[in-house]
Amino acid sequence: MLLLNKQESEILSSEITPKETYRAFELNRRQLMRGLGSAGVAAGLAAALPRKAQAEVKIDNLVATQYKVPDRATTPEGIAKSYNNFYEFGEEKDDPAKNAHTLVTYPWSVTVEGLVAKPRTFQFGELFHLQPMQQRVYRFRCVEAWSMVIPWDGFPFSELIKAVEPLPDAKFVQFLSLANQKEEILPGGIHWPYSEGLRMDEAMHPLTLLTFGSYGETLANQQGAPVRVIVPWKYGFKSAKSIVKIRFVKHMPPTTWNELASNEYGFYANVNPEVDHPRWSQAHERLLNAYTIFPKVVPTLMFNGYGDQVASMYAGMDLRKNY
């Protein structure tokens, strides 16, 4: 699959002259890729990475892929970056864009632990340059029955899994998000840190994207900067934001929304038009991909339209019970 991607891919932004501010960033990236990676390079790279909120920087050498949504227009960037569910920064949709400027995304590290042969802590730069960055346009379906179409920038999460060599006992992956009272509001009523999880085959699936950017730029804080996961055939809350820890475990990990209301949010949370949320229908979605007061309400697709690639993982499972 990955090979296929590479065959079909082309360099997206190689023709574009990098902005002045990216020269150092790019230089360090190349050094790292040549295998000159060292503490010194990491420090130099760090200097070029965004320090402040709203300082999304362009990602160079993005690799285009066949992952597109030809039948739907892409959501305008302004909508995708101002309408977010990121409860660490408040409960309203516009709260994250207002409040997430306090999130400090540098320095950042992601600890990978649990049932792996090579547990380690990745500095953000190391993780960022683990693999070439791909651009993939995915449908994004929120459990609240609205949806967007977003170009994400990242690489398959399976690349990270390969790098840490999971043990045979590792059956699930748990993602833990940052929970820091100094930087986040962390409203009461929710048990922090935010926890999400995937079954190992779901985590290994080529669609599951370790995501560092959108629209060709590093993630905005309110989108879950600096690194998150995107699982396009599941409801949005499965795609954990601002990840600081990745744990390989034997048993199904506790997940935040499932803990809060298990009758409303299952562990699997696959997009499924036939299984209603107890409080609303999931058969349709409000497509937020244009500035209009009369948005299109479109039928929701099974597995968010990725059924041909993911349905086999759930063969024989009762999706009404395992919602």
């Binding site: 409960e91 229908s281 349709h284 948005p295």
Partner: protein, 253 residues
């Protein structure tokens, strides 16, 4: 309070109650509504919130007018003359809220309905409604929060429909008053509607709930005070029905 002051007061009350709707119209006009990431969600919350707050303002009139302040024995009693006006605005915003759900939220193809009308097909809005009706019916049948929301709207509709004074005369004062005490039920249902809508862990409806709880407690306090007073052979303070005042109808007094 003098009649002239009442007229001015009513003009001010109309203006205040219309302000949110005018604000929304202005947002539509200057493009800031369409610049919202999810205008439908915005309009839904906007109209729902104002319906609730104006309803609470209406419910606050009775406790306020009993406060021992103001000139003479009458105190703030004049406020009762604003109760119908404010209540009708609560119904107005609740209706906008309901229309937002039916015409924008449910998937109703409003632009197709409008362009159909423009092309002379007068039945197009109705055809579009027939297309979306199964979805709405499904919601009505299955969703508790929609059921209580609709119930609250139906109560407000009944109160609005019986608000003219000739309806009061037709129904009779006592029955009318009993009917209009349902306004408290509408308030409770509207709050429940809000709580059932938000996700577990979300506490945004706490403000309206706190205000409603205080108003209900005051109401219970009056009721117990009245009964205690009656038991001791005392006259209730405001025995005379407010409907005897000119230009006002009784309500949840």
């Amino acid at each position: 309070m003098k009649d002239r002051s009442i007229v001015i007061g009513k003009a001010v009350a109309h203006a205040l109650c219309l302000l949110p709707a005018l604000g929304l119209a202005r947002m539509y006009g200057n493009g800031s509504l369409v610049a919202q990431p999810d205008p439908v969600n915005y309009i839904t919350h906007f109209t729902g919130n104002w319906a609730l707050w104006i309803l609470l303002a209406d419910l606050a009139i009775t406790p306020l007018r009993r406060l021992p302040v103001g000139a003479g024995r009458q105190g703030l009693n004049f406020l009762v003359r604003f109760r119908r006006l404010v209540g009708l605005y609560a119904f107005f915003y609740a209706t906008l809220h309901l229309l937002t759900y039916v015409l924008l939220f449910s998937g109703y193809n409003l632009s197709a309905a409008i362009s159909g009308l423009e092309a002379g097909r007068v039945l197009e809005p109705w055809h579009q409604m027939q297309l979306i009706w199964p979805t709405i019916f499904d919601d009505l049948e299955k969703r508790k929060f929609i059921q209580v929301g609709i119930a609250a709207w139906v109560i407000l509709f009944l109160l609005a429909a019986t608000s003219p004074r000739r309806m009061l005369r037709a129904i009779g004062g006592k029955n009318w008053q009993r009917l209009h005490r349902m306004v408290y039920v509408a308030g409770v249902l509207a709050c429940v509607h809000y709580w059932w809508l938000v996700k577990a862990g979300v506490r945004t409806p706490w403000r309206v709930t706190a205000v409603l709880t205080i108003l209900l407690l005051i109401r219970v306090g009056f009721w117990m005070g009245k009964r205690g007073g009656a038991a001791r052979g005392l006259q209730p303070i405001h025995r005379e029905g407010p409907w005897r005042e000119q230009d006002s109808a009784p309500g949840a007094g």
